[in-house]
Symmetry: C2
Subunit: 469 residues, 2 copies
């Protein structure tokens, strides 16, 4: 029964860096390569922190199961659209903005431009100079939308007379709010600030908002989770692409809008606005996301992310076990495609509360549902889209029971980003995003993808270890 040690010949399994495998392949030696990398990229301190949490793994897994159930069990209905002063009790001289808290002098230029424009729109100041003096002298307060049960795309500016959609999570009783998406072109959220921007805001506040509000109240709530599940089946990932969701929403609202709209010219103007507004639904997806994510905040020991958000300077995350604490790191620059005449030199770093969509498993996480969106990644197409979603599964705690992808034979999207897995693998969430011009008044210059910075997750990991010890 003796057998030559090298018969059959040795076979090679290569782990980690692919250099060794590539060298063998060049020599025609059969090799199986396993993409393995050391925990936390070989960072001994972080590996130690992960090991400390590992000692409490059973407790954490139970907590994460609870957090995941909350994150995926929400039932968001849009029930109203009304002014922020009424829905949020937002006071005078307060401007909400996207992302984690940030002081005026650290704000990027498009966000500053949006803040000043909103102050003019509210008529707290007659021009940008006067508006700037109000902010610099603390007579206008700046606060994150997220601290006010609200979210805002890009600059995310909300002031009291702006109408906001009211989204109610009927499973948990909480509410979330968001402004009406202004459309493309020169819009406040991208830091545009001319008269056309203010005029559109006035129309939204005086005609479109009240009409949408009346229609929504008459409709007694529209089930956003069902609509989003349907739109996901139609190629929307609901961050970069919202055409299906927007069209489904308009169709669902049409009878109520018609019934509410006594003056049919108002209905026609709203219809005109909606008729080719492919991103209209984005804001509702965001409010639905916040309504679904908020109940997961405060679950003790849970290491799942409840907020991903950016203010154009910092990227901030919040984690279930750690409630309202923000963990921030410098925000990255999106990579993507630019409108004619613009390029990376014109781009502002990543901005907006819209990554709440990724927080609930959509957007970049659900790229497999939207091969068309994958073109922002490079070659694009089906394989690249599938690869993104597959990679996101590595850092997520579960699969969504409602948000499913037909191209994956109805498999649910990955959901529940686990801080531990992010640090362990070094894989951070991929976010689909618009790109703002870095100068005031320019507006959108492109669209692309961006990674959440690892620093937010390592900071959160340290805090989780500290909280557990």
């Amino acid at each position: 029964m003796s057998r030559d040690l090298l018969d059959p010949p040795p076979r090679v399994i290569s782990l980690g860096l692919d250099l060794f495998a590539l060298a063998l392949e060049a020599l025609d030696v059969p090799v199986v390569h396993v993409a393995w990398s050391p925990t936390a990229g070989g960072d001994v301190r972080l590996a130690g922190q992960l090991a400390r949490l590992e000692a409490r793994a059973a407790t954490i897994e139970r907590a994460n199961a609870e957090a995941l159930a909350r994150l995926t069990g929400g039932e968001p209905f849009v029930v109203d659209c009304r002014p922020a002063w009424e829905a949020l009790e937002l006071p005078e001289r307060t401007v909400l903005h996207a992302g984690p808290p940030i002081a005026w002098d650290r704000m990027c230029e498009p966000m500053q431009a949006a803040v000043l424009c909103a102050i003019r729109y509210e008529e707290w100041a007659a021009n940008d100079d006067a508006a700037r003096r109000l902010v610099e002298s603390d007579r206008v307060k700046l606060e994150p939308c997220h601290h006010w049960r609200a979210v805002g795309p890009m600059a995310g500016v909300i002031t009291r007379s702006m109408p906001v959609f009211v989204v109610e999570n009927r499973a948990f009783g909480n509410r979330a709010h968001v402004t009406i998406n202004e459309g493309l072109g020169k819009v406040l959220r991208y830091g545009a600030n001319d008269d056309s921007v203010v005029a559109r805001l006035r129309w939204l506040a005086t005609e479109a908002g009240p009409l949408l509000g009346a229609a929504l109240r008459a409709g007694r709530g529209l089930d956003l989770r069902a609509l989003m599940a349907q739109a996901l089946r139609m190629g929307d990932e609901m961050h970069q692409r919202n055409v299906a969701a927007s069209a489904l929403l308009v169709r669902a609202l049409l009878p109520h809008v018609a019934r509410a709209g006594g003056r049919h010219h108002a209905v026609a103007r709203l219809g005109e606005f909606l008729s080719d507004h492919d991103q209209f639904f984005l804001n509702l997806a965001m409010a639905a996301g916040k309504a679904m994510a908020d109940p997961a905040a405060g679950v003790a020991d849970a290491t799942l992310v409840t907020t991903l958000s950016r203010n154009g300077t910092d990227f901030g995350i919040r984690v279930a076990a750690l409630g309202d604490r923000w963990f921030t790191a410098p925000v990255a620059m999106p990579v993507g495609l630019y409108f004619p005449g613009f390029g990376p030199a014109d781009a502002n770093p990543d901005m907006g509360d819209s990554a709440i969509v990724e927080t609930i498993g959509l957007g970049g996480i659900a790229m497999a549902a939207s091969p068309a969106v994958a073109r922002f990644l490079g070659a694009g197409g089906v394989a690249e889209a599938m690869a993104v979603t597959a990679e996101m599964r590595e850092i997520c705690a579960g699969e969504h029971p409602i948000f499913r992808i037909p191209a994956l034979d109805e498999r649910g999207v990955p959901v529940g980003i686990d801080v531990r897995r992010v640090v362990e693998t070094g894989v951070t969430p991929l976010i689909n995003t618009g790109i703002a011009g870095r100068r005031a008044g320019v507006g959108q210059v492109g669209a692309g993808v961006v990674r959440a910075p690892l620093g937010c997750f390592t900071a959160a990991l340290d805090a989780l270890v500290e909280a557990a010890s």
Copy 2:
């Protein structure tokens, strides 16, 4: 250099029937199976006919290229909705029906029921018995929709006071027409015939149709090809599934409907009708299909199919080189899923002009775009959907330049069914379809898939050979 004949051991390639391959596999003998079958299933006469056409292959290929260019080059715009007496100059006492021509006594029961109900609706007779006497005494004429620049789903009944959409092919100047889809439940097209059916027809004629017509005229034409290309990217194959196209259409029409609708209750009623009507667009896809297919009729020597249609008794096809001639064979029974309380015993054989959608490369041909629809096939899912579209490529002359499928990395749908390839392979077009109850008054009982019968194609092949000799 001598070498043992059986070292390496023999390897097996199996052609044709898979029995041999399966037997070897059971014995663990490695085998490569190639699904090959003899031309025309081994039918010597048909193989001879194909060989006769093969002698003229270069002429036929040139003709087919022209026919394909017409079939895929159409630019269908929906421009109006107005009564059939006006749009089609349809006279009194004429009832149009789906499919190839058929005498009253050979019509299936749901089609007869729809014809009689339409006669009551037009008030040419007070009840079904009186209506039947009019038909049997030739005082009401029965003609195919296809002979009147029109198409109709299922029974496909059109009479003069029914409003029809007007679709203009702006590349070729021809027009096609179709009724407004009535929705689900008890509807004329499925052979339902009670008072609710007539009441809905009256509302369509007196309120919905005029309002849609005014909106379309104000909109100066809506590009259906662009809308259909978009909807195909959103999971619609536009026969069984039209949810994206319907929602996009409603969104596009909204401002014009609002502006046209002086009485806002009419707009609200129309909105209510449209708000969850996922198949509303089907009829427009059909009219677009006919508008795109008609210019390919009459291209000498071309062997591509220009019409697929069924009247519930016969399946009929028409072929480019042979103009208006029909080639018929007994229609098959769809296979699919039934509504609760119904089964195959309740089903009428395949019916309707809706297979014009497959004629232009959508519906069953484009199954890969709609994995959700593939569940009517059996196990369903992505693999089965992909397999159907791959099989359809075998019988199609080309790929559509505009109708593309993201899940196939933007590859065009197969289009241009070639009679020669169908006979050669024995593969006939797969059609997605609704299933009507076989008794009058029942309505829809299910939905599924059906194959066009081979007999239509062999008859057309014979006529092609005869025309060429």
